[in-house]
């Protein structure tokens, strides 16, 4: 397992992160600018990046763009900027998650875990079957088992579920989901998404009002989670 790269210029946050994440067992590499971050990313085995957007040598989004050219490393944006358009932009450029400052360290650790598990599984092999909590998704037969009982899904519902399962821990924007499930040109048809998502939740969630598997990230999109046990 590689280290976590923290691209952040505020020493207070840096210190806080290195102490708290170090206590959980993560190893941290610190960079104070986009340039330093990119150098560190290219020279070290990095498993995840925590990125601030307001950096001394430019907008953190530049880092996402540059990094994605040579690395598939998951990126969590950690920023005080709480503007929807900014979040969507960062996600569409390739960031995996977006956390607004201030945040609790528990929240951050949960997201880090979710993302690193997906990456690890992806590394091991191509899966025919994905298990999340009580859900078992068979990607070959296109079937879903909940608590070992089969659940009947429509074709689109299954495609939706499969897309989230394959991207566990990652925030998927509405546009991304629509274009991957319905196809290009459907990027703005959020109405479809709301309807199918409500149907899917009724089938997989215990309480659809308080979803456990696919949660809404307000202003960004959805994310599939490992339910808290």
């Amino acid at each position: 397992m590689g280290s976590i790269l923290v691209v952040e210029d505020d020493s207070g946050i840096q210190k806080m992160l290195s102490i708290s994440l170090g206590a959980v067992g993560y190893e941290l590499i610190k960079a104070g600018s986009i340039k330093a971050g990119l150098v560190a990313l290219s020279q070290n085995p990095i498993s995840l990046v925590l990125l601030d957007l307001g950096l001394p040598d430019g907008d953190g989004k530049t880092f996402i763009k540059e990094a994605k050219m040579f690395s598939e490393v998951p990126i969590i944006v950690v920023s005080a900027r709480d503007i929807e358009s900014e979040k969507i932009e960062a996600l569409e450029m390739g960031a995996d998650d977006y956390l607004t400052k201030p945040f609790s360290i528990g929240e951050l650790i949960a997201r880090i875990k979710a993302l690193s598990r997906r990456v690890r599984e992806k590394d091991e092999s191509i899966h025919n079957e994905i298990s999340i909590g009580k859900l078992t998704i068979n990607l070959v037969n296109k079937t879903l088992m909940l608590d070992s009982k089969p659940v009947k899904l429509t074709k689109k519902e299954f495609e939706l579920l499969a897309l989230f399962a394959k991207n566990r821990g990652k925030v998927l924007t509405h546009t991304f989901v629509l274009e991957n499930v319905w196809g290009r040109g459907y990027g703005k048809e959020t109405h479809y998404l709301r309807v199918f998502m409500a149907q899917l939740r009724k089938k997989i969630e215990e309480n659809p009002s308080i979803p456990q598997y696919i949660v809404t990230e307000s202003g960004m999109g959805y994310r599939m989670n490992e339910p808290l046990s």
Partner: protein
């Protein structure tokens, strides 16, 4: 102190002097007496004593003497105006005002300006210059005085067209009479000193006869003497009792006849010599419907106004009554009327003058003779209201006569002679009621002839055997005439009343509605619409903006309505623009049918409130007669008051807004200060406890303090977020990013966040959400719900928080209820900013939560209400499912 006072007095004197210029007029009996010469000499004399003198206009007539005298005086070049292919030079007011001398010399006061000048008359130029505090020296001949116009005509048989109203002469501070004996004047004329040689002969034969000159000289001397005695008189009277004595009042009757002009002029002279007030009486009756007559009357009224008369309008079917009433009402001592027409018809149709005289009023009656031959009998007969109607009435009267005659002739035996007579009488009465006196008389006359011819022995002749029938015929004719006259009187009165009523109704409509408007644009649009409804022609309203620039606020051009922002498209022609500026500057009407800039398309009226022109109303009028003028004047007043009120209202609003925002700022700062300080104190206290080397605390206590720090920090974050949202809502910066949202999702995610911040064991949630996706801003709606649950969790008593959402038509109806102790009386205040309920006194909060919820819901075009029922506090939210639906027009993006 003394010094200060004298200085103030000096300043005051200077200001008063600066207000109006001094006006000196050189008056002469005829051209060539030496007025221009005297004026220039005076100018030079002033110049030599160091006064800034310029020549504004000089008519040298090529006289060498005069021209040489003008040398050395600065001459302001005249303004060249092209008219009818020739170029004319007129007084250039603008250049003179710009040059701002102390004294201006302007020759020929009575001159009529060329069309296209800003004023019709030169004396208007002079008055404007005087009003800017510049002294004017001018010249004029006696025959140009308005009130002497007809005397001059009768003396010399020459009608002078260029006249100067007496009111202007009253403005003159000092008259200088230039007197040259007639023989000397003729000598000067012959030697070519007045006109070029080629014109001398014709001048000598026409105007410059010794007889004419003598008469005019006498007139000038008399006028000058009168003026001097006036001044002496006024002086002595003023000395005696401080005010001018007032015992006599002169009244002149105005009608549409040309003679009224002479009567008015005579009345003016009479009132002057008697030092009496002058009243001009106009009786509104049958002339209302006739534009020609109305225009004529309007012209006479204008003359009377110019001569300083007070105009009195009376509405009456009977003119004689109206005159007698006015004599009593105004205490008239001298009545001026025109001479009765001594014609054949004068006997049958009594003249007003005669009928007034017959009533023997308690005053002296002055009868002014005609100057022009009275119209011939044929001219009198000529229909005035257009031939078609007249002819039609005559023909239909005739047709009915023929019908009655036919019936009577056939049923002669059956009906009997008495009934036949009554039938004719019936017809005469019908004509009288239906058409009027001329027709009833006509019917009676023809009827008598037919009756005589057909039914009276000897048959088929116009003679009668029994002379008693002759008496019957005369009675019949009298009945025909009187009944017609009666009905005419009633009709005229009705018509007058009706038209007056219409005007009042329109005005009433206007004034009652004008009070409703809160914006100038709305009021002006309404005014334009109303004017368009009355005149059915081009109308517009111009309103000055903050920088005093006039802008079209509303206009109807070619039946098309332009509102303020579209009006840029429509531009006024340059002449009209000048007219508008003039009206705004001077606060008097101008344009078509007025004396100022009459050759533009429209007439411009100032709408004045408290002497300030608040708007200019322009109307393209077909004619400007007395009733129209009155209607428009009243309209302008009402409109001005309305605009004035709107102005005040807006100022008031603005002040209130500023006050409110100031108050808001202070409340906001206070609130934020306290709100942030509380959690901050908790954090600092906890941290310093942990860090203090002097204090040893157990691990559990340390843990508790850390939890305290965390909670306080979250509280601070929440306050900051609310503040940001609040600021955005207040400034209208909240931009909705609308998209389809799952209501259940909104509720669920808000609930989860709220629960995280305020965990409560004694409260449970129940959801009953059944709704299609709605179009809205997910983050904002979530924020609203979060604030809502936040409140519910903070203020709820133990129990269940129930959320219910369902579709109702085009809206989503949502209710959130929780057990609460909030007082019902507080419900109306809870949405106000910074309002904190009684029960919340011990709970942290900014008082912004609900006002933010309300703001967000309103931004979504929804509504929110609070009620208290059975111990439950219930918030009801209604949101449109698709606010972009055609029915609910959204102004988002």
């Amino acid at each position: 102190m003394e010094k200060l006072k004298s200085k103030a007095e000096r300043l005051l004197e200077e200001v008063q002097q600066a207000e109006e210029g001094n006006f000196i007029l050189y008056l002469g009996a005829a051209a060539g007496v030496g007025k221009t010469f005297a004026m220039l000499s005076k100018g030079r004399q002033l110049q030599q004593s160091g006064i800034d003198v310029v020549v504004g206009y000089l008519e040298a007539h090529g006289r060498e003497e005069t021209e040489s005298l003008a040398e050395g005086l600065e001459i302001i070049p005249t303004k060249k105006i092209r008219y009818g292919g020739a170029e004319f030079g007129e007084v250039d007011i603008d250049s003179i005002l710009k040059r701002d001398p102390e004294v201006v010399l302007i020759d020929e006061l009575a001159h009529n300006n060329t069309q296209g000048s800003s004023y019709e008359k030169r004396y208007q130029d002079v008055l404007e210059i005087l009003s800017h505090g510049i002294d004017v020296i001018s010249t004029m001949n006696i025959q140009h005085i308005e009130s002497l116009n007809d005397i001059v005509y009768s003396l010399t048989n020459v009608r002078v067209v260029e006249t100067v109203p007496d009111s202007v002469l009253e403005r003159v501070d000092s008259f200088r009479l230039i007197d040259t004996p007639p023989d000397e004047l003729i000598e000067r004329l012959k030697s070519g000193k007045i006109y070029p040689q080629e014109r001398v002969e014709s001048a000598l034969n026409n105007f410059f006869t010794e007889q004419n000159l003598s008469k005019l000289r006498e007139l000038s001397l008399r006028k000058a003497a009168l003026k001097v005695s006036d001044e002496l008189n006024e002086y002595s009277v003023a000395k005696r009792d401080g005010r001018r004595s007032q015992t006599n009042t002169v009244m002149v009757c105005i009608d549409h006849h040309e003679e009224s002009m002479d009567a008015v002029r005579y009345a003016k002279r009479l009132s002057d010599s008697l030092k009496a007030d002058l009243i001009a009486l106009q009786i509104t009756s049958d002339t209302l419907g006739n534009p020609q007559k109305s225009a004529q009357i309007r012209k006479h009224i204008r003359l009377a106004e110019r001569l300083g008369a007070t105009i009195v309008s009376k509405i009456s079917g009977d003119k004689t009554d109206a005159v007698i009433e006015s004599i009593e009402e105004y205490g008239i001592t001298e009545l001026v009327m025109t001479r009765p027409k001594s014609r054949f018809f004068g006997l049958l149709f009594p003249n007003l003058t005669k009928s007034v005289m017959d009533r023997r009023p308690q005053c002296i009656i002055n009868v002014v003779p005609f100057e022009k031959p009275s119209p011939t009998f044929l001219e009198q007969l000529k229909p005035i209201d257009g031939i078609s109607d007249n002819l039609r009435y005559y023909l239909s009267s005739l047709a009915m006569l023929v019908a009655i005659t036919g019936i009577s002739f056939v049923g002669k035996e059956l009906l009997g002679i008495v009934n036949i007579t009554l039938l004719y009488l019936l017809l005469t009465l019908f004509s009288a009621i239906r058409y009027g006196v001329a027709y009833s008389f006509f019917t009676a006359l023809i009827g008598v002839l037919l009756f005589d011819f057909l039914f009276i022995e000897p048959y088929y002749t116009f003679s009668v055997n029994d002379l008693r029938y002759a008496l019957s015929f005369i009675i019949f004719l009298i009945v025909g005439y009187t009944s017609g006259k009666l009905s005419d009187g009633i009709k005229a009165k009705n018509k007058a009343i009706k038209s007056e009523e219409t005007r009042f109704r329109r005005l009433y409509e206007l004034s009652s509605r004008l009070g409703d408007f809160e914006k100038e644009e709305d009021a002006s649009r309404f005014a334009v619409e109303k004017l368009y409804a009355i005149f059915n022609s081009k109308t517009m309203v111009l309103i000055p903006d903050e920088s005093d620039k006039l802008k079209i606020a509303s206009a109807i051009v070619n039946s098309e309505m332009f509102s303020s922002n579209e009006c840029e498209v429509y531009r006024l022609p340059p002449n009209d623009q000048a007219c508008v500026q003039w009206v705004y500057r001077n606060g008097e009407s101008a344009g078509k049918f007025t004396n100022t800039l009459p050759n533009v398309e429209m007439t411009y009226f100032p709408s004045k409130a408290f002497d300030k022109t608040v708007a200019i109303v322009a109307v393209e009028l077909p004619i400007l007669d007395a009733p129209t003028y009155e209607l428009l004047s009243a309209f302008m007043n009402t409109f001005a008051v309305s605009l004035w009120r709107i102005g005040l209202f807006r100022q008031n609003q603005h002040i209130k807004l500023v006050e409110a925002s100031e108050k808001l700022t202070s409340v906001l700062f206070n609130s934020v200060y306290h709100e942030l300080k509380t959690p901050l104190a908790a954090i600092l206290g906890s941290v310093s406890t942990i860090n203090s080397p002097d204090v040893t605390i157990s691990e559990t206590s340390e843990k508790e303090l850390l939890v305290n720090i965390e909670e306080s920090a979250f509280e601070m974050e929440r306050i900051l977020k609310n503040l940001l949202d609040f600021a955005r809502l207040e400034n209208g910066l909240m931009h909705l990013k609308k998209d389809w949202c799952d209501v259940e999702d909104i509720v669920g995610s808000a609930y989860q966040k709220a629960l995280k911040q305020h965990p409560r064991d004694d409260v449970s949630f129940s959801f009953d959400v059944d709704s299609p996706p709605i179009k809205g801003d997910f983050s904002l709606l979530e924020q609203a719900m979060l604030n809502l649950f936040d409140n519910a969790l903070k203020y709820s008593k133990s129990g269940e928080i129930k959320v219910h959402a369902a579709k109702r038509g085009t809206h989503l109806l949502m209710s959130i209820s929780n057990p609460s102790d909030i007082e019902g009386s507080e419900l109306s205040n809870i949405f106000d900013k910074f309002y904190r309920a009684e029960i919340s006194a011990k709970i942290k909060g900014s008082g912004l939560g609900l006002s933010i919820i309300k703001g967000i819901i309103q931004a979504h075009k929804g509504s929110i209400n609070a009620t208290k029922r059975y111990g439950e506090f219930i918030l009801t939210i209604s949101l449109p499912i698709d606010a972009n639906d055609s029915k609910m027009n959204s102004n988002e993006e």
